[in-house]
């Protein structure tokens, strides 16, 4: 079966004004199958958002290959890019800046249809109304402006716009991070429902391990431009193979005092190195509690360990859960 | 830092070259000075001879190349009207221009910046409104009017200040006020915005949470941060000062390059005009470079990176 999204050895470097380029993404490979949701987690600056932007050509890949529904993104001309963007849509993190404040909600949702000549006039209005209804808003909201809506409602509008073209792939870039807790659940529920009802593939980028676990089938962990581990959800959360995955899981505070305080405290030492000057060998070795001399010298291979793909020299030494 | 300055100088050279080219062709398109040089009764033939002697009958591009070649040798040429090296004409005016620019900057900065800070700190107060009115008043009068009013009041009626000309500090005061008033509003406005901007930042709240008074926070922290955009304005304002100087210098008989520029344009004294423009863009560039240096002094992010 052809994956909806195939990312193979993706490299994105940003030139810096002074000094070496920023190696935002440095050789990332994964696929997303139809109807599948892949989570991409990592801390700020790890390159996870760059990956999602590169998939739709919002940033130019430096190397590697990305295919959306079989179409190569790298070197795509303007028309192909337009087609790719019909297949893959993005929901951004901040609903406050995702909508043009000077454009009505209806115009925003209808824009993809209008500029591609897919609908106009009454038909356009009807399709916008249907989309609004689908995300839990009312058709009459179409004539209002974004500032008249709350954050959660705005994110619904953004989702409606992303759905307008019936994409095969939905990229969610931290879609709930900017939302309040009580609203976050609404949006997560909506995303899960829509993903299922539209039979979309989904790449879910987030720093929140609990949220990712909630919506994803498989999860990839990124650190400093590299994938550390990629595994089916349950495998990742129950038997994390990479020390970074374990550290992340340990660091997430559980909203349950009893559980949280019983957790073993093994906070990671130090800070994330600069992606402009990543460490030699395994990029994580500077903070890794298990690092040995070998880790400083050789980049660990991306290899299978059961269902899990992992990049760690000492992945086998995982302590029993 | 050095690389940055080298880049700036490179840009500056391109800019200067563009300025020269633009002004060269504008000037030549506006006619040549032959007619202004001949006596009233000269015949067409006589005019043609003089034009030929002065070289204005050559194709424009030839004149342009000749001019550039001469310039590259560091020669600004001879004024057609004054029959003197342009460099010495300009040289004799620059000190006066500098004096006036400095004087008006003192007025603009000395009033504009404290007013701007006060307007930001006492935002919404009566003080802010009165300062705003004062500051804008300076910018809302044509200088030729305010200048003559001042001359009449302080020069003729009260006799406190010399009515015109250059005679030390007293003669500098009125032109500086007339000219400085124009930039004062820019400084006040920019300072106000910069200070307001900084006042809304967390580090001010943090400083106050540490027990600093608002005033101390402004002096110790806000001032330097707000200085960065203000310095940018200062560099730009130099250009505005030179433009405004044209009229102020005429009114106060102040022998700066603004007056010279207008006279030279009127006389189609090309080389003088071009030299003035060259000088002004040079000042502009130096001021912007200076601003860069000031940024580096103020801001460790610029100083320490690279």
């Amino acid at each position: 079966m052809n994956p909806v999204l195939a990312v193979d050895g993706l490299v994105v470097h940003f030139p810096a004004r002074h000094g070496p380029p920023v190696r935002a993404v440095d050789g990332v490979s994964f696929t997303v199958a139809e109807r599948e949701t892949l989570g991409l987690v990592g801390e700020s600056g790890c390159g996870k958002s760059t990956v999602s932007n590169a998939i739709v050509g919002l940033v130019q890949p430096t190397g590697g290959e990305v295919r959306v529904a079989g179409m190569p993104v790298r070197g795509a001309d303007r028309r192909t890019l337009r087609e790719i963007r019909a297949k893959a849509q993005i929901v951004f993190q901040d609903p406050a800046t995702s909508l043009n404040p000077r454009m009505t909600v209806g115009a925003a949702i209808g824009e993809p249809l209008l500029v591609r000549g897919l609908a106009r006039g009454r038909e356009l209005r009807e399709r916008v109304a249907a989309l609004l209804t689908e995300v839990g808003l009312r058709p009459e909201h179409a004539s209002r402006y974004p500032h008249q809506f709350s954050g959660g409602q705005r994110q619904r509008i953004v989702i409606a716009r992303a759905l307008a073209l019936r994409p095969a792939l939905l990229l969610c870039d931290e879609p709930v991070s900017a939302l309040d807790v009580s609203v976050r659940a609404q949006i997560l529920n909506l995303l899960v429902e829509l993903q299922q009802s539209h039979a979309m593939a989904c790449l879910f980028v987030s720093h929140d391990l609990a949220v990712v676990r909630h919506v994803c089938d498989r999860v990839a962990v990124m650190y400093l431009g590299h994938l550390m581990e990629l595994a089916p959800r349950d495998a990742l959360y129950t038997t994390p193979r990479h020390p970074y995955t374990r550290a992340l899981l340990a660091a997430v505070p559980e909203p349950d005092p009893a559980l949280q305080r019983a957790k073993p405290r093994v906070p990671l030492k130090g800070e994330i190195p600069s992606p402009a000057a990543p460490p030699q060998g395994c990029v994580f070795h500077t903070r890794c509690p298990m690092a040995i001399a070998h880790c400083r010298e050789e980049v660990p291979a991306w290899r299978h360990l059961g269902e899990t793909l992992v990049a760690c020299h000492r992945a086998e030494e995982t302590p029993a859960p | 830092m050095l690389r940055h300055i080298a880049g700036r100088v490179g840009q500056a050279i391109v800019t200067t070259f563009g300025v020269l080219t633009l002004v060269f062709f504008l000037m030549r398109l506006s006619g040549d000075p032959t007619l202004l040089l001949v006596p009233q009764g000269a015949s067409a033939h006589q005019i043609a001879i003089l034009r030929h002697q002065l070289g204005f009958d050559r194709p424009l591009i030839v004149q342009y190349v000749a001019y550039l070649r001469q310039l590259l040798q560091g020669n600004l040429g001879m004024s057609l009207v004054q029959r003197m090296p342009v460099a010495s004409i300009l040289g004799s005016r620059i000190p006066y221009t500098t004096e006036l620019a400095a004087g008006s900057l003192v007025v603009a900065v000395g009033i504009g910046i404290p007013a701007g800070v006060a307007m930001a700190v006492w935002r919404g107060s009566l003080l802010e409104r009165s300062l705003a009115a004062l500051v804008f008043a300076g910018q809302s009068m044509p200088t030729f009017w305010s200048g003559i009013l001042m001359i009449l009041l302080f020069g003729v009626v009260l006799g406190w200040l010399p009515t015109s000309g250059v005679a030390g500090l007293p003669s500098l005061i009125m032109p500086s006020i007339a000219l400085g008033a124009l930039s004062m509003a820019s400084f006040a406005r920019m300072t106000r915005i910069a200070v307001l901007d900084e006042l809304s930042r967390d580090y001010v709240a943090a400083a106050r949470a540490r027990g600093l008074s608002l005033g101390a926070a402004v002096v110790r922290h806000v001032a330097r941060n707000a200085a960065i955009p203000v310095v940018t304005v200062a560099a730009l304002e130099i250009g505005n000062l030179l433009a405004g100087a044209v009229i102020v210098e005429t009114v106060f008989a102040w022998p700066g390059i603004g007056q010279l520029a207008i006279q030279a344009i009127a006389a189609r004294d090309f080389l003088v005009v071009q030299a003035i423009v060259l000088f002004v863009s040079f000042v502009f560039i130096v001021m912007n470079l200076l601003a860069d240096v000031v940024y580096a002094v103020i801001d460790p992010r610029i100083r320490l990176s690279s």
């Binding site: - | 506006s30 202004l36 006596p39 009764g41 004054q82 010495s88 404290p114 009515t163 005033g215």
Partner: protein, 504 residues
């Protein structure tokens, strides 16, 4: 808010302090007047007298140099460097040169210097803008111990009047230092020498000790550059300047109430006239041109706008110049007849571009515009800068507009210097061609017989009167403002001889 307050206090004190510093005393008037301060509207363009002849340059350098001949206060041409002259033939004139004149560097002024001065200004390579005033001279030669002979192409009646503008420069000095240095550090034989010249600021002259013509009245003369009319007047009233050149008639009137100052005015050879394009546009029709001449109320203009500091003229020339015709009456002021003429010419509502520049009095131009509009024309003012104005005015008949205001002076006080360039066929100023007129002015140019010339000019002016290629409006006054103590009579040729002034 403690630090804040202190900072503001400091700023306030600084500002007030600067204001306080200015308690400088007003310039005191010294008892024996040794320094005269003059405000000129423009800077001296060149100190080299053979390079520029605009009134401001002339006002300064004429005091440094002596000229071959000059005009006395009554306007008569008299000798200066030349003590006498006579015509050897209609094209040869012999000057006797004084032998008691020394340049300011101590060297003697010799006939060789006179020859050099003529040859220098007539050498095309020197690029003097005055070349056209002297290019009738074909040679200059020392023909005796104190004798110089000038030869002209043809009999040239205006020669003496032109020679009034020929300053004698030192040959040896210029050959030694070169033209550029001479311009910066000129040496002449006049009553004053240049002590300091700050371009655009001031030129300072000091008296030459032992000047052959007498003792200069002031030790020091400072010429300042003050472009703004109102500022010059303020300078005068505040005592910053002792005499200011070029003030407006309105300012002159308002100065009359100030007893410390006075207005010095004299009718000059400068004629205010209206150019009327006879070769293009609605004014090609002579009826329109005549109507224009009849539509202008010259007396009204003079009394209302010029405050009487002008006299009406009948032709485009002033009585101060040779050749002014006495018998010609001007077109009468008759708007009804003018309107009728315009109607007859079918020129009602015709658009007449009126070229002008900021150098000319705006109120007169606007008043003329209204007068012409009232007789049925539509005058549109095109105000541009002086250089563009000259370009268009001297361009083709199409470019020159229908009307232009002018203030003409040839600095030679002769009709030849006025109507020849203004109206002779082919002259750059002329948008008019009449062979009979050309013949008359050409004839007047090539005879030395004053009576014959007068007759020729009479003919010429009669033709101009009929054809109206221009309308003479008024003889302009030169108006100076001076401190009351200054004794001086200004002259029609706007010479600014310090030697003629006195302080009482």
């Amino acid at each position: 808010m403690g630090i804040m307050k202190t900072a503001f206090l400091a700023a306030a004190i600084t500002t007030i302090g600067i204001a306080g510093l200015i308690g400088a005393p007003a310039p005191a008037l010294a008892a024996p007047k040794t320094k005269l301060t003059v405000d000129l509207p423009n800077d001296v363009a060149t100190m080299d007298p053979q390079l520029q002849w605009d009134t401001d340059s002339y006002s300064v350098y004429r005091n440094i140099f002596d000229n071959l001949v000059t005009r006395n206060t009554s306007g008569k041409i008299v000798g200066q460097v030349a003590s006498s002259w006579h015509y050897k033939s209609p094209t040869e004139i012999v000057f006797t040169i004084r032998n008691d004149i020394r340049f300011q560097d101590g060297s003697k002024l010799t006939p060789a210097d006179v020859v050099y001065s003529v040859e220098r200004i007539t050498n095309p390579a020197f690029k003097s803008p005055q070349l056209s005033q002297f290019d009738e001279i074909t040679s200059a030669a020392v023909t005796g111990p104190n004798e110089v002979t000038l030869t002209t192409k043809s009999p040239y009646p205006v020669l003496l009047a032109q020679l009034v503008k020929l300053s004698i420069v030192p040959k040896a000095y210029i050959e030694k230092v070169g033209n550029t240095q001479f311009n910066l550090h000129p040496i002449g034989s006049g009553p004053y020498k240049l002590a300091d010249w700050q371009h655009g600021v001031r030129s300072v002259l000091t008296a030459t000790p032992g000047y052959w013509g007498g003792k200069p009245p002031f030790e020091k003369v400072v010429f300042r550059v003050v472009p703004q009319d109102a500022t010059r007047v303020a300078d005068l009233r505040a005592g910053v300047a002792d005499i200011v050149r070029q003030i407006t008639p309105d300012d002159a009137k308002s100065l009359q109430s100030d007893h410390a100052v006075k207005v010095l005015a004299v009718p000059t050879e400068r004629v205010g006239y209206l150019f009327v394009n006879a070769q293009w546009g609605p004014t090609k029709d002579v009826r329109v041109r005549r109507a224009i001449a009849m539509a202008i109320d010259r007396k009204g203009l003079i009394s209302a706008l010029l405050g009487g500091y002008a006299k009406p003229v009948n032709v485009v020339l002033t009585p101060a110049s040779f050749g002014y015709p006495t018998g010609i009456k001007p077109w009468p002021y008759d708007p009804q007849k003018a309107a009728a003429l315009i109607k007859a010419a079918g020129a009602e509502g015709a658009r007449l571009p009126f070229l002008t520049s900021p150098a000319y009095p705006q109120n007169i131009i606007q008043a003329i515009q209204q007068m012409l509009d009232q007789v049925g024309l539509k005058v549109v003012i095109h105000q541009m800068d002086q250089a563009s104005y000259l370009r268009d005015r001297q361009g083709t008949p199409q470019e020159a507009g229908s009307l232009a205001f002018g203030l003409w002076s040839c600095a030679c006080q002769d009709a030849d210097g006025t109507i020849w360039p203004l109206f002779h066929t082919g002259s750059i100023w002329s948008k008019y061609s009449n062979l009979a007129f050309d013949k008359a002015v050409d004839a007047a140019r090539s005879t030395l017989d004053a009576k014959a010339r007068m007759a020729d000019y009479h003919t010429a002016f009669e033709i101009l009167h009929r054809d109206v290629p221009g309308v003479g409006l008024y003889q302009a006054d030169a108006i100076y403002g001076a401190r009351d103590q200054l004794q001086w009579t200004p002259t029609p040729n706007e010479a600014f001889f310090i030697m003629d002034m006195k302080w009482k």
